[in-house]
Symmetry: C2
Subunit: 160 residues, 2 copies
């Protein structure tokens, strides 16, 4: 990992412990093998990518073909996690707090993308819309919230 800082960037001391543990549930295959080749943002008309789900979770795909759009969460495993203030252009001129950016450098480096589901191929989903490196670990797959309706009846707090 590149730990060099740009002028004016600010880091914080990371805690020693951890608060929760993730398990990777699959792996994402994309055309991009170098960070500098990844798009800055995914596009729904971007290239086809494959999300391969590990064996214990393949049955959890049941019914997913009903959705055209999914939300994908993945682990940006090459990111530094201590940056508080960043200089995205590397020009030393303009800074942003980490939470005002979608940069991969963040305390919990989880990327989220909305993707279009092209098809289900056994343990793999074929999708468009990702922006991550080939080999990125998969953290979650959900129906996109724009399209999803809860499968149980509304509760009081759901009603206006």
């Amino acid at each position: 990992m590149d730990t060099r800082l740009r002028a004016g960037e600010v880091v914080t001391a990371l805690p020693e412990g951890q608060d929760a543990a993730l398990q990777f549930i699959g792996r994402i295959h994309t055309p991009w093998t170098r960070r500098e080749d990844c798009p800055r943002q995914g596009r729904l008309d971007g290239p086809e990518c494959r999300i391969v789900v590990f064996a214990p979770w393949v049955a959890a795909l049941e019914g997913i073909e009903a959705y055209q759009h999914l939300e994908i969460l993945y682990w940006l495993d090459r990111s530094r996690r201590d940056l508080v203030r960043q200089n995205p252009k590397g020009d030393g001129a303009r800074y942003f707090g980490t939470f005002a950016l979608r940069s991969p450098q963040r305390p919990n480096p989880i990327g989220t993308s909305q993707v279009r589901l092209i098809g289900v191929d056994g343990a793999a989903l074929v999708v468009r819309g990702l922006d991550c490196l080939d080999g990125t670990p998969l953290v979650d797959i959900k129906p996109d919230r724009c399209e999803f309706t809860p499968k149980a009846p509304p509760k009081a707090a759901d009603l206006g």
Copy 2:
């Protein structure tokens, strides 16, 4: 945690190890103190909630006021993580794979919501659109992708 299964629900054996560690970066305050009171989905016209960022990360809010909509990631700390197939209505009639649901029960129980930013109050964001319990641990804050434009120039893969 309630570990009872409904008829027809399926679990998998969870791995013993872990693949990545999360650090909580704040805490979310909502009006809902019991799971049964939480809405099934957040609404942009729902009640005001407060997202309080822990001290090391307050400076990372710099510039966030430029966004009307944020994406919030949080840890659903009361969820079981081994459910592969679920019966949301509890009626024993209709089942869905976990990845075809936005249920809190999932291998990596991370909730995501799109929220409207009402205001910044020191270390706290006032927002509408959440659906989680009072006290839920905060994992990430990002500008919502609908509104965010990368701050560095496009790369080849960003161009059509």
